[in-house]
């Protein structure tokens, strides 16, 4: 190391002046050397070369301190520059963990180092915020994409569904329309039928009225017939009695004629006996006998007539009785016919009431059908509009997702 001897003021006097001068010259030379060295190192440093140092320093005192001072200055400057360079180098690469190590740093170096560190912290925060913002932007883009894509997908699906549904709806509307049409036609037919029923039942009512009148008339006739037949019965019974009595008279006449004949015979016999005187008498007797004969003949004929009258009247009585019975029967029948007709009339008026009700209801049905038809028409129209809207919707959602893709591409490219 150093060869320098301790310069003590007390030792100065013990040496010769020449030796002292020599010594001083040597020291001066050494001083000059170190000053030159220091100048060299400082000059290099002044030109930005922080590598040079003063090595093998063999001077003591102030000059020695100066040499070490220069080295120290350079060491701190060098260390600071390296640190600062490293920190900024890392920072430039986006690595913010690196700080200037304050330990070992002094004074202005330490202060500058603190400022660098603060800036780095600041930059770290900014960078963190930036990358947070960046990732938030990307997150938002992702979220946005996911949301919009979902919306677009569901819109497309909805549009598709609307399309399908509206097609089904259109079909249903068409079916409804044609069914309503059918229904309307049946309603028309129904109301025509109802009107016919009404008319027919009115006619029926009228006919029933007529029939009722006729039946009443027939009844009257029958009543009359009953009366008349019982009268006829009486007449016939009277006739039977009369003819019986006439028979009795005829029998009496017949007896009288028999007797007359016997008497005439007796008279003839008597006349014959009386001879000529009796001749006139005999003629009368024969005349009487002839008359008796004719009477017998007439009564025989009368008896025959009476017999046939009796037969006829018996037959008539029988017929009249049968007729009476039949008339009663007819009367009973006409009574039940009347009752039936009464029922018929009631039924008919019920039918009419029903028919009227049916007519009212049919009218209501027709109104409903018309409304249904209208609704079906409306449905068809709305459905057509819906189909168009759905198609537009699909187009819009496609455009939307395309725009979103473009938007996201540009967001993410930034």
């Amino acid at each position: 190391m150093t060869l320098t001897t301790k310069q003590t003021p007390s030792g100065a006097g013990s040496k010769s002046l020449a030796a002292r001068v020599q010594e001083l010259e040597a020291r001066l030379k050494n001083y000059d050397h170190w000053i030159a060295q220091a100048t060299e190192v400082c000059n290099r440093a002044a030109h930005g070369d922080l590598e040079a140092r003063l090595l093998h320093v063999d001077v003591d005192g102030d000059l020695g301190d100066l040499m070490f001072g220069i080295n120290g200055l350079l060491d701190y400057t060098d260390a600071f520059v390296r640190e600062a360079k490293a920190v900024l180098g890392f920072t430039a690469q986006g690595k913010f963990f690196r700080r200037v190590i304050l330990r070992g740093m002094v004074g202005t170096f330490k202060h500058a180092a603190q400022i660098i560190n603060e800036s780095t912290t600041e930059m770290k925060h900014s960078a963190a915020e930036l990358s947070q913002a960046e990732s938030r932007r990307l997150d938002i883009a992702d979220q946005f994409e996911a949301t919009v894509k979902e919306i677009a997908t569901s819109v497309a699906a909805a549009a598709n569904e609307i399309h399908n549904t509206s097609e089904q709806l259109a079909l249903v509307a068409q079916q409804t329309a044609s069914q309503a049409d059918n229904a309307s036609r049946s309603a028309d037919r129904t109301s025509a039928i109802v009107i016919q029923v009404d008319e027919s039942s009115q006619q029926l009512t009228e006919s029933i009225g007529q029939v009722k009148e006729q039946v009443a008339e027939a009844n009257e006739i029958v009543q009359r017939a009953v009366i008349e037949s019982s009268e006829a019965n009486t007449v016939v019974a009277g006739l039977k009695d009369s003819s019986h009595r006439i028979g009795t008279v005829v029998d009496t006449i017949t007896e009288i004629a028999k007797l007359t004949k016997v008497l005439s015979l007796n008279a003839a016999i008597e006349a014959a006996r009386a001879g000529e005187a009796g001749l006139g008498f005999a003629a009368v007797a024969s005349e009487v006998r002839k008359l008796a004969e004719q009477t017998r003949e007439a009564t025989n004929a009368a008896r025959e007539e009476i017999g046939s009258v009796q037969d006829s009247s018996a037959k008539a009585a029988k017929a009249i009785t049968a007729c009476g019975e039949m008339t009663l029967e007819i009367s009973e029948t006409s009574k039940s016919i009347f009752r039936l007709i009464q029922q018929q009339a009631e039924a008919t008026s019920e039918i009419r009431a029903n028919a009227n009700e049916a007519a009212t209801e049919t009218a209501q049905v027709t109104v409903a059908i018309n409304q249904a038809t209208e609704a079906a028409d409306n449905t068809r129209e709305s459905t057509e509009r819906l189909v168009t809207a759905a198609a537009e919707l699909q187009e819009v959602s496609t455009t939307l997702s395309r725009s979103v893709d473009e938007l996201l591409a540009s967001i993410r490219k930034v």
Binding site: E51, A79, R82, R99, R103
Partner: protein
């Protein structure tokens, strides 16, 4: 490299928080400058240090792989932070947080290296000691020191991966304990 047999005293030296130990080497690691603090702490004379390889102060507890990492980085032009325990001439030791950087000429060529060392926090040292011990154990368990160093290097890599940091970040995170 020359290795004198120094008896370890187990005595730890330390230096001021405002002080830095500075050394410079040529591209091969031969010491070209040592500042007064270095000279004072290591206990060598300037003459003994200048021209000597830097491993003159190498401590046997240091794993090889840390120096490999150091050299890999600085020869690639990067800075390195490393906790290093060094050996004094008398067998004492001292911990430093070394910041080793290359020096470049105007053309950008590496002309040598520079190291400034600060006194590290005790808490950082306490964290480093077991790590280095385990790396050293891995290295010593392999009779081929290169292979052992390679194993330890792998272990160090896994260790850094587990904390999700580069070596720089890791070392600096320990510096932050300061």
């Amino acid at each position: 490299m020359i290795k004198k047999n120094v008896r370890l005293t187990g005595h730890e030296r330390t230096f001021g928080e405002d002080e830095i130990i500075v050394s410079k080497t040529d591209p091969k690691g031969i010491i070209t400058y040592a500042n007064q603090t270095f000279i004072h702490v290591a206990g060598y004379t300037e003459e003994e240090l200048l021209g000597a390889p830097h491993n003159i102060i190498r401590h046997p507890d240091m794993p090889h792989c840390v120096f490999k990492l150091l050299w890999d980085n600085i020869s690639a032009g990067n800075e390195v932070f490393a906790f290093v325990v060094n050996l004094c001439k008398n067998g004492d030791h001292y911990w430093v947080l070394a910041h080793v950087t290359p020096s470049f000429d105007a053309a950008g060529k590496i002309t040598g290296y520079h190291s400034s060392r600060r006194v590290p926090d005790r808490s950082a040292v306490e964290q480093i000691i077991p790590i280095y011990a385990s790396l050293k154990k891995i290295e010593d368990s392999n009779p081929d020191w290169r292979a052992g160093m390679h194993d330890a290097e792998g272990e160090l890599g896994r260790l850094l991966e587990s904390v999700g940091m580069s070596y720089d970040e890791f070392a600096f995170s320990l510096v932050q304990c300061v």
